[in-house]
Amino acid sequence: MSTMIELKNITKMYDMGGAEEVHALQGVSVTLQKNEYVAIMGPSGSGKSTLMNIIGCLDTPTSGQYIFNGVNVSEMSDNELARVRNREIGFVFQTFNLLARSDALHNVELPLIYAGTPAAERRRKAMETLTSVGLGDRARHKPNELSGGQRQRVAVARALVTSPSIILADEPTGNLDTKTGEEIMILLEELHRLGNTIILVTHEADIAEHAHRVIRIRDGKVESDESNGHRRTYKTAAHAS
């Protein structure tokens, strides 16, 4: 197994104006391997969102080093980070974050547009990926014509379409009922089985149970980091591609 993510003594400080400062992260060091399925857990205000933003290259640390796939991304410019996000990271958000005015296919195509993929190939890949999450027949539907579970699957397809190095899922089931949430978890598990690296950010213990390793964050520090012996798995591969 090769190292995918290496966080070395990461701190993040927010200046709240005046002399007040908030230390969201206070020296976090974590190493993630390729094809790991990791859950980052913690209550709200623990700094797990900040950590996710840094891992997702949406934000840069105040100090410390972040080595992503052998490249130091902690000192990259905005545009370089955008490029890493585009090529290497697939986001799945709690609120889906689809473009409301675009249909499913276009939403999935979007990362490829920014990657500069030619139109025909873009369309083909997006369609393929949508089909692989079981939404081939919903390509022309807009988000408001889809159910919550379907929307999240569009989001997963969008995350997958560029074949990223990691999939970063932030409370992916937070806005779904138990049954559809379960469907999404099955999908993530399936993706993991196919060789993807998955980072799951959640505050729900039973969601975190799906992961192979659980990192708990509290007050901006790693509280515990252990492999998950009694993890929950689904035997049925519902959406084999």
Partner: protein, 407 residues
């Protein structure tokens, strides 16, 4: 390489956004529409004024010199020239004899008299006395019939040639040739009608004139009048030489001693064009500046609505950034939106102003210059890019984390 894909995507997004906010887009665009309409109409009107001037100036002929008591454009002190001696019609024959450049020399004098034909009347017809030489000394052509000949001219026969407007007014339904009209009661038979000239200087065009032989004119209406002697120069390339020679000839005729100033002026079309050019430039600049202001206001409207649009779509910007849109793409997206809005406004403006320019044409013969069509499109694009820049820049610089959190 990505540029075209990005531009295409940007335009697609723009059209979707414009369609989604139809009312707002229409209202915002209205500012640009009004701006473009006023700029194009102003240019059309300026074009009309210039055309009318060119046409009028052409009536004077570029190769004709006008010897007169006073200058056309008063550059000298009026007090020093008001007591000049009158010019005499008889100079024409002397000039023709003495000048080597003169092709044709025609004395011209005019008076206002009622002109009638049956029940049709022109109350103050511009009756003009001249000689048969006028037909070659003037810059106009006879469209129908002929000008009076040397024999008719020398004998003072009761014949006349009339301008196009005179013909329209006196002979609305008939062919004027061969008909006899009356000038202050004196009968004159029409032998020719001039081509229509149009133009700004009503006094100077042939349109409103009735030309009669000078001899007849003098005997019916008196000969002590303001005389203009029109000299057609044989070689247009030697206008300056001709002018110098004519000056000498005139000084000899008038017995002006060496060292004394001329007591006459030699006018030519060039003086008018030279005088008009700066005036027309000033009118054009002021006109375009004022109408340009409305376009500027339209641009501010676009900027305003683009700021609203950027704020409204903060979340969308966050999503796009999260999945890897670089600053440039976001910038491009909003720039193309404002450019598309303005371009739409510009095109609508052109569509609106074209029929309006046809209405202007009714009063001032003109047409929308083709160049203004391209310039308007270019201007509206530029306004779009300039007024879209600040909002787009703000969008491009948004922090993805905060943009995603925006509700």
């Amino acid at each position: 390489m990505h540029f075209l894909t990005e531009l295409k995507e940007g335009l697609l997004i723009s059209f979707r956004a414009i369609r989604a906010n139809k009312m707002r887009s229409v209202l915002t665009t209205l500012g640009i529409v009004i701006g473009i309409v006023s700029v194009t109409l102003m240019s059309t009107a300026i074009e009309g004024v210039n055309r009318a001037f060119d046409k009028s100036a052409k009536a004077f002929g570029t190769d004709v010199l006008y010897i007169e008591k006073f200058p056309w454009v008063n550059s000298e002190d009026w007090a020093s020239i008001r007591n000049r001696r009158d010019l005499k019609a008889s100079y024409a024959a002397q000039i023709e004899r003495k000048s080597s450049f003169a092709d044709a020399v025609a004395p011209v004098m005019a008076t206002r008299r009622p002109v009638t034909y049956l029940s049709n009347t022109i109350d103050d017809g511009l009756v003009t006395g001249t000689t048969s030489e006028y037909s070659s000394a003037a810059g106009v052509t006879v469209e129908d019939g002929r000008f009076f000949n040397a024999e008719e001219s020398g004998g003072g026969r009761p014949v006349c040639a009339i301008g196009a407007t005179v013909a329209e007014n006196l002979f609305p339904k008939e062919d004027p040739i061969g008909k006899t009209l009356r000038v202050a009661g004196h009968p004159f038979t029409v032998v020719g009608v001039f081509e229509k000239q149009g133009g700004l200087f009503g006094e100077f065009t042939s349109d409103t004139r009735i030309y009669v032989p000078l001899v007849a004119f003098q005997s019916f209406f008196g000969g002590r009048r303001y005389v203009t002697i029109q000299v057609k120069v044989s070689d247009i390339k030697r206008m300056e030489d001709a002018k110098i020679e004519l000056e000498g000839v005139m000084r000899t005729i008038r017995n002006i001693l060496p060292g004394k100033a001329n007591d006459f002026n030699i006018n030519q079309q060039e003086i008018l064009t030279q005088t008009f050019a700066p005036i027309s430039l000033v009118i054009a600049s002021i006109g375009l500046f004022i109408t340009g202001l409305s376009l500027f206001v339209g641009g501010i409207g676009i900027m305003n609505i683009m700021f609203v649009s950027v704020t409204e779509r903060t979340k969308e910007i966050g999503i796009r950034k999260a999945i890897g849109a670089p600053r440039r793409s976001i910038l491009m997206q909003f720039l193309s939106e404002s450019a598309a809005l303005c371009l739409m406004g510009g095109l609508i403006g052109l569509i609106v102003s074209y029929p309006l320019s046809l209405i202007v044409d009714q009063f001032l013969p003109t047409s929308m210059p083709l160049s203004i069509v391209f310039i308007s499109i270019l201007i509206s694009l530029t306004v779009g890019v300039i007024s879209g820049f600040l909002p787009a820049y703000r969008a491009a610089r948004m922090d993805p984390v905060e943009a995603l959190r925006y509700e």
